[in-house]
Amino acid sequence: MTSVGITSYGYHLPWYRLSRKTISAALGALGKGGGAGDKAVAGYDEDSMSMAVNACIDCLKNTDKKIDGVIFATTTAPYRERESAGIIATALDLGSGLRTADFADSLKSGTSAINFACDAVTAAGKGTYLVCGADCRLGSPGSADEMTVGDGAAAVTIGNDNVVASFEGSFSLSYDFPDYRRLDKDRFLRSVEERFVREEGYPKIIPQAVKGFLKKYDMEPKDFAKIAFSCPNAREHGTIATRIGFQPAQVAPALASLTGDLGAASPLVNLVMVLEDAKPGDNILVVSHGNGAEVLYFKVTENIDKVSNRGRFQKSLNNTQKLATYEKYLAFRGLLALPIFDDIEGITELPLVWRSRKEIYALHGTKCKVCGTPQYPPQRICVQCQAVDQMDDYAFADKKASLFSFTIDYASPNINPPLVYGYIDFEGGGRFVFELTDFDPGSIKTGMPVEMSFRRKYRDEIRGIVGYYWKAVPKRD
């Protein structure tokens, strides 16, 4: 029997960083926890869903995109009711004949999703599941939580063909430990007293899970090349590493220091980070926490050397843009009442969105069977040769693209002005006007290569609708 495990992986870290010193400088004593380093901050047009889609795009590059199920792990789904995994599958154009599920409400949902996906493939003896995790948790301004949490996403495919890291075992603990909580109405994290958490929470539960795992499989710390575990606090991360008896060289760096705690995305991002440096034969452990803890055990295979373009993760940790002010961060998160958006929302016609879901979510246009011209948005009458109803569905999001023309618009309202947009030419044909995002204003030039990125276009609070669409991002790889 072939092994089951990870067959590909990808991630999306936002471009923006907020220095914790910037928070302290803005809020004085309120900005407690202080501390050094930066946290990863989702752009104004990003949320857990959009980041997950981009992580999945990264993960599915160079794969056949034949996916039997999508599982999305998060504690910050954009909708209280409306499945995120279904939107993700639509954006990725995975078809409708698949399972989709959201694993929510716990920081350990990322490892739960992998566990269930591995079990599903094992039980069926076939199939590929796409598991993605993303979080965009919000600490209230000035809280310790604001200091510790960051935003990010990662994705893996679980299957039994060309496995790069085989799934060798897991160990789960479930406790109703009340470190974090939120009600429907809660915008910000609520957390219990820190001392209680330090003494009774994850610093105790993670070691318990790791020890339980080692006992269950009769293994020792020295059997592992790497262990990665998530934890909101970098100092506690060191304490836990000592407690579980792993040598510092075996312990992957704390995300708390690199990006902030990425919530439900943490174990997936940890997994990606470890796989980026792994060698065939390495045993690796990934540990989550949150209402208990879970340990996942993988063995890296020879196939890891076939993964293209490795080592990007480290680069993207350095390729970032620091937010100059705390106010900018507040604006990104919708915590400043910017007046400009009061009156510009229109009605989203949901039947239209449903009918045009491929056009809007998956960036599909059409390609004329007669003359071969790709065109976006989808057309029935060919713009080139006038043929009627001779169109094939055509995906634009994954095509090489470049900036034909652009403008820097200082007049149009935007949360992160100026608004920059221009016409994008797709290799093979097709042109349409798109917004640019995550750019350095001085670096924009006509002809520059760009990539399409899935973004949150708007959030209509009045009608409870979150709109997503695609923007162009300068190609950085």
Binding site: F341, D343, I344, E345, G346, I347, T348, E349, L352, V353, S356, E359, I360, T373, Q375, Y376, P377, Q379, V383, Q384, F404, S405, F406, T407, I408, D409, Y410, A411, S412, P413, N414, L419, Y421, G422, Y423, D425, G429, G430, R431, F432, V433, F434, E435, T446, K457, Y458, G467, Y469
Partner: protein, 402 residues
Amino acid sequence: MADGIKDKVAIIGMGCTKFGERWDKSAEDLMVDAFVECLEDAGIEKKDIQAAWQGNQITEINIGHCPVPLSTTLKLPFIPVTRVENQCASGSEAFRAACYAVASGSVDIALALGVEKIKDLGYGGLPSSGETMVWGAEYRLITPGWANANPGMFAQMAQKYFERYNISYDEGKKLLAKISVKSHHNGALNPKAHLHREITVDDVLNAPMVTYPLGLLDCCGVSDGSAAAIVCRADMAKNFRKDPIYVKALQVSGESGIDWMHQSYDYTHIETTRRAAIAAYKEAGIKNPREEISMMEVHDCFSITEMVTYEDLMISPVGKAGEDIDSGFYNLDGKLPCQSDGGLKCFGHPIGASGLRMLYEVYKQLQGKAGPRQVKNPRLGLTHNVGGQPTRNCCFVSVIGI
């Protein structure tokens, strides 16, 4: 075989309000002002009008979508009324409809009125397309921002024009600046214009950037206003006045989609202008527009629009509009004065009224009634009115003459 509109219809009266930030006037007030001037100028009675068209775009937020405000405000006597909309070319569309009705023989005398009351909406520029749904619900979901991106969509044309013809940013900005300086000079001579200040090239270059590479003084004014025309059968025109102005050509071209979504579009011209101009010259019997046209009012929503229009109307050679700008060819004292009334730039741009405002200026010039900005002995004038953006628009071109 259709033989066109030439000399079948005449303009016997026109009216135009002062354009500007008319906080003192409602859309209805502006309509009445334009109509009263127009009716007096025509020397007819209201009961002589047999059909009427209203052109407006964003004002529908103020007065609604239908033409009833036209008939109830002007107290028109139970005649056919229709509202037309073609974005910034709505006023021209109203005029075209009235002329066609007369030319068809179904009526003898018709009214066209354009109006826009934008400033009440509370925007510095035009309101967002999110509110006005200019391009519809689907387009709104897949285009940048919620903004009405007109300044940015025209700005890209400046960028591509500079790029294509190897014009440096500084040179290009200067050429565009001269267009605005010329229009401000003319606008300062026009009491009905929105903006009355002469400006210098440096003023334009130092103005705040709006949509790179266009600055504030590359953009036209956004105004309230109304304009109107009364047209009749050409053979009866001299019964009403000794100096009627005759319609020589009315043409519209709508974008086919190719420039909107196909990589063949160079973004350095507006194809619909060229198509409408070719058709209009044919209809009017114009062989050499550079020599035959006495003056013109073009759609200078932005300086770059005016620059490419010189070429698209086949008056300046392609890529060489800069030479005509530098030589003053389009100045008030030049060979072919353009925007003698200040244009959209300074007369202002109440969307649905602008097409009729352009005709108003040409009409007055042809009658020799343009005061200090009078062009010498004009015989044939052209108006050019674009509704939309370079990649997605309808373009109207008319020729009228004595």
